[in-house]
Symmetry: none
Subunit: 189 residues, 4 copies
DNA sequence: AATGAATGAGTGTTCATTCAT
DNA sequence: TATGAATGAACACTCATTCAT
């Protein structure tokens, strides 16, 4: 993944903004160039096609999704979640687009990559959950896959609610509350 | 909401199929008429515009989303969920489209209606949760909104996984496991 | 090769006219639709792409090039030539385009087909020449391939001169003179 | 005709190569600059427009077509032909383009000049033929114009076959055979 | 109820060319 | 000499829609 020029960064930033606000259908070269303030032809100096712009967006998603392990077990789960929320808050539009599973559905290759990115954390999180079980922080009586779905599913729903509420409520605060509640439920007594 | 003719039913059924498989961007009058086996002009005998087809799709979503209350409290939650899963299994493509929050994003009016439909069950479910708390089936120590997010968020994630796995695993079975696990966590001891 | 509708015939006729007068580079959908008097979009009801229009032109060339054997030996050569001239005179623009070997050069497949059509008569003519030799009408001392090149090469040059003189001289008359002269040279004494 | 710089020579050489291999339609500033290994803008340091590049190509054609009279009568015809073949063999791509009568058809001025160049040898050759007739080397019974068409037409056809056979056969050898055969036919007995 | 033919606006993309550096 | 960035016009093609039949 080569370094992006300033213009290239601007292009994919504006492209994400358009997708987030008006949907993929409105990501046209015309709209995009208008948003940037150049002619349509000018875009082709920076990306060779619309498709390559979409690939660049996916590249960004990939980079955005990369996590550094910052803990293990229960603590690891928490810091994973909080770190995610921080990133989401810093990049609300990108977040909105990333949570639209179906966005690239019309391009089989892109849509597959999209799915891998979105669901890429599953293994990672299941590992943390199993660690927490080993640590006896989480009861063994609840299945890992169900815990994963609860934790990530609820986070996803919260984030989607945040996106479609125009990012108006405090995502981090709500995220903490949610996690505390879940944490209370799952931790061993 | 007027009764639909056979042709109208066929049109929106095929439209949903196209959206589910190839994305909104491929829902064109041409593709749609081809899928049905008539000319493009013929579609306009049955719907006056593409927009009215999309409204009809939303009408269907609304109908699909309507629930009959079949219990109260904890039992009510369970039957709500199981009833949902049954419906999803019967209408996999419609389900896939319904779970694509962003599909109608480029039409402010449709997108608002879409959101209302998707999140329409919130009040209903929160009521059931509060009933369960009153019944002392669920501990008061966990907030209703968090419970809602856990229950619905995990269900949504499960359904999305099912959709993007080509409906290949047994949604009902997984749904039951998920609910049992959640139930074990939240019920008072 | 399916039958062409009236519109399809008109399209390829006008396309040939454009190529003949202004070159392939000016065969654009815009120019073509303007020549016909419809919008660009309208063309696509009749041909699915510009490429398929070009294929239809080649199909026409093929049909145009088909000959009925109308004699053998020396007589056969003469009637072959005269029949050709008659056809050229009836279709001057098509002729001009057909004699532009390089027209479809940018499409490997079309250009190969074009070449086959243009040079398709070689075997046929060489057969006639060999017949004439067997009949002792043409001396054996001159090689068939050279005779072919003389007969067809001179005809081609004559036709090209005719095309680039705006079809203004009498091609048939000149063609007869040319053939008589050649005939006098090659026939056995 | 001013002297060309090295870069200018390179530009028209590469331009001819592109036309020969991929057709005029692929002679774009982009393709040309890519072939040379500079940016598009750089070309404009050397030629002020695409049109002036095409004029330079025609200038080259003109120079290429210039002949030195190296004999008279029948011998003159032979040396004219052999000299041509030698030149063609040394410049195969230029030859291919030069034999594409219709290449500059969309520019009335260029196309007229092109035609003059291609057919420029007519007077010259007719003179040689008439000399040969005076010398009693060629029978008077065959018309000069027909002899011209036979000699040049067959040569043109041979060259075109050579070009579209990727210059793979021995043009000089075939040219000699062709000429010998013609010579045998036309010379007085 | 359906078709064939058409349209104006828009799609992504390429064209030759310009200009500041 | 050359480049990177830009432009307006054109490219082939698709869009939703209309209308006479």
């Amino acid at each position: 993944m080569a370094e992006l020029t300033e213009r290239q960064k601007e292009i994919i930033e504006k492209a994400i903004k358009i997708i987030a606000n008006d949907g993929i259908q409105n990501l046209t070269i015309k709209n995009l160039s208008k948003a940037i303030g150049v002619t349509e032809a000018a875009l082709y100096r920076h990306y060779e096609s619309k498709h390559s712009i979409m690939i660049a967006i996916l590249d960004l998603f990939e980079e955005f999704s990369r996590t550094a392990k910052t803990g293990s077990g229960l603590k690891g789960i928490e810091s994973f979640l909080m770190e995610r929320y921080d990133k989401f808050i810093k990049n609300p539009e990108l977040t909105k687009v990333m949570f639209s599973e179906a966005i690239f559905i019309n391009d089989k290759e892109l849509s597959k990559r999209m799915r891998l990115i979105i669901h890429g954390h599953r293994k990672e999180l299941e590992l943390l959950i199993d660690e927490a079980k080993s640590d006896n922080d989480i009861s063994n009586s609840i299945e890992t896959i169900s815990l994963f779905r609860m934790i990530i599913g609820s986070m996803r729903l919260l984030v989607i609610q945040w996106c479609f509420n125009n990012y108006e409520f405090d995502l981090k605060k709500e995220g903490k509350i949610l996690w505390n509640n879940i944490n209370n439920l799952i931790k061993t007594r």
